[in-house]
Symmetry: D2
Subunit: 362 residues, 4 copies
């Protein structure tokens, strides 16, 4: 029997609105035990005091707990990120993995998930984390019978350093890469991204030194996004690929934007995901990870977002990309996230487009 | 002898940076007496306490005053607007009108300017202002020997109601449309836009009632942008058209976006302005005026910008459109402005793209 | 048997943290059925998209529902307001009313609550609402055997106009005072405040005309705060007084600040609430309602908060008053709220200080 | 002949408004050559993109240049800081030093100014800067014939590290304390504050190690405020003391707040500056420097300003202190500034109150 991956998109009327998913569960359209990953975009500021993430996570927890599924690490990955600046619509994407009676055909979307071995606080942001993530991705590939070249995208949920982790490290006289949770995010994201790059053979091991992390921007993955925020010190990876061993007809394609206005890369990704050029069919899900260039320049022109003390640069970034991607593909259900260390080239980013013909968006 | 219109674009290193224009004046590349209009985008918040507008205006005033040109209404129009959200680059566009020895050829950019008769405070936002603007545009067309159908875009600088205007009105027991300057902006913009629509024969006079203003959104111009902020109660109009009576090869084309993601309209406008599809040549200037839909929906999907109390909806709008337009045409020198009452359809906007082959952007 | 009012203050570690109240309920220190009113200050922006209010309300709902008490209007009043700008500490205050065996003594805190008759949408912000609130306050006074002069403070939870109320009004061709919920808040607050002023005999009925509402600032109550946000069209009033018919030793005193820096009024209120001048004893709860002066002046000096487009004026107001009141009384558990139409003089505000000797704050 | 110090306060109608000072210069009330220091509070956000500082500085430059006085370091110190959050009024304070025929009497305000020797970029934030500032303050004391114990307050204008300083350091393989201007501010402020503390004998030299800077918060001055932003690498100090060698009757007193609500310290400082307790006489100028506690706690209670991603913590701080100080002394002309490393105890701050009987504020 083959396996089948399904992608579902649901709008949310408020940060705790899981009613559309509840309806789908009620109708049997989704098997709660088959959910591999849920990715949610909520409408808060996407910064330090964004409570909408908590609201969404808790609402989803309650919904699934009532059906015997836990959001604890063992069962599935739940990634919640705030920030619907610009034209982004608050929404959630649910990925299912099921056995299928469907006949084999061309390549279909494949999904695999693995959870890494626990890390020590002082390993976050170091080569130890890089290699931990590399091994975790390789394990996921094995499980899904995917080769590195068949992988289109990897979504990583990365740990960060909370106060109790710092206390633990200090009790052993160990030195961490950052003094607080906020400061640890660039480090954990960078290490995870390089781990994916190694697993997908985008860089070679001899290039990746301890001193490369958050320093050598020539090293990057073209096929991953990392979101920091795991309270326990394990890395969760969800791998999306295209494989003839999977069926169902869903598709994924990745793209790598060389800068924030690289609409040609977006067009090409949409095409590879099977969307017709006429823009009549919408994608089921879009994931984007990118950053403004550290130089403050885009195509040689000055930009001011880095110096706007009233609106955080990452809020500017998310608003811009909702427009760039939204105009290219005609949808506002876009998971735009910033903090793209070693994810795409400096000043650019990575993109994944999912198309699910059997479950058109309402 | 024919006339020639030239368009110049200059980056600005800070809100008071007029050094690039100064260099061009010094070199004789621009004749200060020939300047018809300067349009400036500065990097402030584009809201109530945006002092960058003042900085730019005063720096330009000093520069031109030293060359015998005044920014007072008689000589030229100077429009300054804050808000470089997203990827917009602070910059200024200078429009010149000169006599030319160049031979006649195909149609070239034509520019005309006219200043309306003074209004009373209580006329702002009423049919009296609509008809005043209509007459002013018609006068500008006559001067430039342009027909309504040859007009591509009209930029209006509209008066607003300052405290002393309110006092004047009250002294005559006259009632104004709004109690303060901020509240008067939607009214003055709406009336000006409908005046342009009448002059350009986009609507017919019998449709435009007193009660239509800021109410009947089926009435709109596809070819104008109105910026409020004139301290005196006169409307200034600058008309851009394409005419065989003008020479020099500069071009302008307008577009009308049906919603914020209408990249097809942008592509079409760029093409009509003579830009090649391959995106190798940049436009010299881009003007956009638009608003998020009042419904809070875009293509049926919920958006949250109207309810973001931390970042003003118009800041969201400008960031999005810097991305949408920037990705479509490859430039970040975009004059994005919001407050588009009767300027394009509700939830969409109007666009002008200028191409100046003889003066490529540095 | 006499009645006794108790006041409890609990810190909150996050917007949904009701654990301190849960502990008190568990320990039997509070009888859930005796709770008359809960007033919560959460840490969101206190503006349109402040989800922390929802989090607190739902957490409290779940906690009390498990003990048989509903937050629906019948049982008790729950007022949640966001905005801990400056030094304000997120916290909740719980008011209990119990039978008591304690002996009569001097005057003690008395609490009464009443819910008004349902209003029509078109009555919000009109004399009909003024009189409705007047009658409701008078009913509460009767129940608590309080005279108007014994009342120290009235906290009102006012209805606002949601979309379905507007639809209802339009279906009857009735005209409402405001087009949306946000716009209805000044109207509902103003009408409620004037209703309290009438019930407490602070103004006389012949002074209060339809045209006085939000216009004649010489009319105001010195002893009330109104918070808008009731989804049903009923006004809830909670009256706090000092009465010899009540026992227990808790105290309340009100003050009326003539401007935002009127620390003498705060000192006097604290003294009347029984707090010693040495600032060694903290109040159990502090409620403040006030606004910056519409003139933009304080003691003749210019202020800029009304023109700060990046930080809402009411966020400035709350930050300032956390400092003014916090410094005067030494506590940061202050319920500061803005939107004080007819509540205190223009540019000033109203204050209530509660002292509960038997239940010192942890 | 004795010396006399005069203090003048002027309101500002906008960030470039120097008209009140111009009037005083015109009237001969101020001698431009006698100005030692100008301290300006403008109405911008007080953060990275606050252009109001530039506007004020340039307006003052133009005004004084026309009278032969330069704002370059040699002639006088000009300190401009943005942020009129809360109730603070935009204003400037001008300090003059003149010869006087007035008779000797009790102690009067004394002012001295000195400019330090140039530093290297890699010295900023190190013991080298500490000792440089110590020597500079000692030199100023000598000039003004002041002893350390007669000093009430020292205002320091500190250099920061601009890009060209970084380039210079790298060219010599020297390592700077911070990678950019913003990051260099805490370091330069800390070193200057410890330098003052040494000069004023508030700490002893053996306590101040390289590792103490921005680490050992038990070391601090009670009598200084440091503002970063000098483009050249010199420290400017302006010393304010009380001395019988000076005349004129102006007074200054300093205070040290143990936390943000320490109104007793403010009351005491105002009293020592000669202000009557009844609050009838206003101070001529008030300077405050302080920070929220790094713990996020105030008197044991939780505060949220450190986690407010929409409003910068320092904007909260300034708003709070405008209320705390404004209520204590009745004035809104307060120069509130944050970034108080080693200036007052952690979570508190330093204060200076000036009273100028001969030049009452208009």
């Amino acid at each position: 029997m083959m396996k089948e991956a399904r992608v579902h998109s649901f709008g949310m009327a408020d940060p705790a609105d899981v009613s559309a998913l509840a309806t789908a569960l009620e109708a049997g359209a989704i098997d709660p035990a088959a959910i591999v990953c849920v990715i949610i975009k909520t409408e808060g500021n996407g910064l330090d005091n964004d409570w909408t993430r908590v609201m969404a996570f808790e609402a989803l927890s309650r919904l699934l707990a009532a059906r015997g599924v836990s959001l604890a690490t063992g069962d599935m990955s739940c990634i919640v990120s705030g920030g619907c600046e610009g034209v982004t619509t608050p929404h959630m994407t649910v990925f299912e993995r099921r056995a299928s009676n469907a006949p084999a055909g061309g390549a279909s979307l494949a999904i695999a998930r693995a959870v890494g071995a626990p890390l020590l606080p002082e390993q976050i942001g170091t080569l130890a984390q890089v290699h931990n993530v590399q091994a975790t991705v390789e394990r996921a590939l094995d499980q899904a019978q995917l080769t590195a070249s068949e992988v289109e995208y990897v979504q990583v949920k990365a740990p960060w350093l909370l106060d109790h982790h710092q206390i633990d490290a200090r009790s052993r006289a160990a030195i961490t890469r950052a003094a607080d949770a906020h400061g640890s995010k660039p480090w954990t994201r960078a290490a995870c991204a390089l781990g994916v790059a190694l697993a997908l053979k985008e860089v070679v091991a001899t290039q990746v030194l301890e001193s490369s992390i958050n320093a050598d921007w020539s090293l990057f993955t073209r096929r991953a996004a990392v979101t920091a925020g795991n309270d326990h010190l394990q890395c969760e990876v969800v791998v999306f690929g295209m494989s003839k061993r999977w069926t169902g007809g869903a598709r994924v394609a990745h793209g790598c934007l060389k800068d924030l206005l690289d609409s040609a890369a977006i067009d090409d990704t949409a095409r590879r995901a099977g969307l017709p050029p006429g823009r009549g069919t919408l994608p089921t899900a879009v994931l984007f990870k990118g950053d403004p260039a550290r130089s403050g320049l885009l195509r040689g022109e000055r930009q001011v977002m880095w110096h706007d003390s009233d609106v955080h640069p990452l809020r500017h970034l998310r608003a811009v990309m909702s427009g760039v991607i939204g105009a290219a593909i005609g949808s506002t259900r876009i998971f735009v996230s910033a903090g793209a260390e070693h994810q795409g080239p400096q000043g650019g980013g990575t993109l994944a487009v999912f198309a699910e013909p059997s479950a058109p968006r309402p």
